[in-house]
């Protein structure tokens, strides 16, 4: 009698162990598949010309995504120009002075914004910028992206500043350093690697965003450097090529995706290297 129960229980244990292992395998499998496809299919169209050339009309071989790369860089840079100071300062306020009603409300606002789908930020920018300006523009794209960037960085900045022990602030105060100087030059400095990591990870995220740009920056087939005009971006190009009916554009989509994922991964790795250096 005992033997039978034991066998059933042991069998159940062994089966469940394999079930869980299978779950883990299934979870990581798509990652390998996607990367495999990205590399194999992306390499087909991957030449130097991809990075330097402008898109060619349908049917004409060659061509590239240079305007998209420029656009992504420009829009990202633009976004970060105002988003980084706003987000870091807000994070400093929440961590160092954050006990009153304004702080609670701001924190709630940050939590709320973090959960809003990114396409809604595109709508926001469309209403506030595209409609009055009567045109799509890089500005509008950057505005939409900053609504995604800012909440993330406010949160990571506040978290990182909170990890600075109270003893650091105490020591600074006891030295007769003004509070604002102590906050910026000592507390923030101490937390800086973590804050920078948060900024880089947020940057990697907005580089990959497509939805907020669909009707703000819109995309552009040509080389375009004006910020008040529609501008290309790599994710937008990947999307356009992917849903097109042309085979060679599909190949370009994979190549563009490979470029995009490379950019995203490089920044992610840079961010993690930074945190490691802190130790």
């Amino acid at each position: 009698m005992m033997g039978t129960i034991s066998f059933r229980r042991k069998a159940a244990d062994r089966v469940m162990k394999w079930v869980f292992t299978l779950c883990a395998l299934l979870v990581v499998l798509p990652l390998f598949l996607i990367f495999f496809d990205l590399v194999i299919k992306g390499a087909k169209e991957l030449r130097w010309t991809l990075l330097i050339d402008l898109p060619h009309p349908v049917g004409e071989p060659g061509g590239g995504i240079a305007n998209g790369i420029l656009g992504t860089v420009a829009i990202t840079f633009l976004t970060m120009t105002w988003s980084v100071p706003v987000a870091v300062m807000a994070g400093i306020y929440l961590a160092e002075y954050g006990r009153g009603k304004l702080a609670s409300a701001a924190r709630f606002a940050v939590d709320t914004l973090s959960g809003v789908p990114s396409i809604i930020m595109g709508i926001f920018s469309y209403i506030l910028l595209v409609l009055p300006m009567k045109r799509f523009s890089a500005w509008a794209g950057a505005a939409a992206l900053s609504m995604i960037f800012i909440p993330v960085v406010v949160r990571t900045t506040e978290e990182m500043l909170r990890t600075v022990p109270a003893t650091v602030r105490e020591a600074a105060l006891a030295l007769g350093i003004e509070r604002w100087k102590a906050t910026l030059r000592i507390t923030v400095r101490t937390a800086w690697p973590g804050i920078l990591t948060g900024i880089l990870l947020a940057m990697a995220r907005i580089i990959g965003e497509t939805a907020p740009l669909l009707f703000t920056a819109l995309g552009n087939q040509f080389w375009q450097t004006k910020l008040d005009q529609p501008m290309a971006a790599v994710p937008l190009q990947v999307f356009t090529y992917a849903i097109s009916p042309y085979e060679d554009w599909h190949d370009k989509a994979w190549a563009g995706a490979l470029v995009l994922i490379t950019m995203v991964l490089m920044i992610n790795i840079a961010a993690r290297v930074l945190t490691r250096e802190k130790r």
């Binding site: 003893t167 006891a174 030295l175 007769g176 000592i186």
Partner: protein, 253 residues
Amino acid sequence: MENVFEIRDLSSWFGDHQVLKSLRMDIAKNSVTSVMGPSGCGKSTFIRCLNRMHDMTPGFRMSGEILLDGTNIYSEKIDPVYLRRRVGMVFQQPNPFPRMSVFENVAVGLKLNGGKLSRADISEKVERSLVMAALWNEVKDHLRQSGVSLSGGQQQRLCIARALAVEPEVLLMDEPCSALDPMSTAKIEELIEDLSEKYTIAVVTHNMQQAGRISDQVAFFLMGELIEMDKSGKIFTNPSDKRTEEYITGRFG
């Protein structure tokens, strides 16, 4: 002998809870004063009143006067930031600034205090402070090393150097050796003796032998009151108050 600090009728509260009761004492210039007593007697609270560290504590209230060279440090005229440059503090847990080198730790008070000092001036002052803190020889070839990579005792001496760099008159020390090993403790006690030639020092300690070794005057606190304050020799051999005697002989701790 001239008094640096004159404390008159100092009482303090955290919220409704009274921590210090009508304290009255004098701290003489270039003396070493130990403040001792059992846990919770208010000695740390007291010492932090002397450099207004409680300004940042919500719910803190005080009454009475603390005169530094004749002026009440809690008066409107006194800028607390400036006060803390004249009255420095070293804490129980050594707390050098992380992510800063030994050099930067000592220099930071100088750099951020608004003075426009040349790099040569700063280097000189850093060296002088480290020499005074008896740490120079150990770190002179490693000034760019991280401050937190030093041993516990070295870190505490680094904190002392950091406090000395802004050239205070008074040095407050809140149980500076309780987190250190006996050898480092001995080094710092020796240091305190040397420093007292130039600085006025007040040390909070729960170690009676230490109080006896290093101080000129000893103040005994109990439940927020100053029970007795006298030359250290007298306190330990012939205390006036029965409670002091009971504490010294170990009837309570």
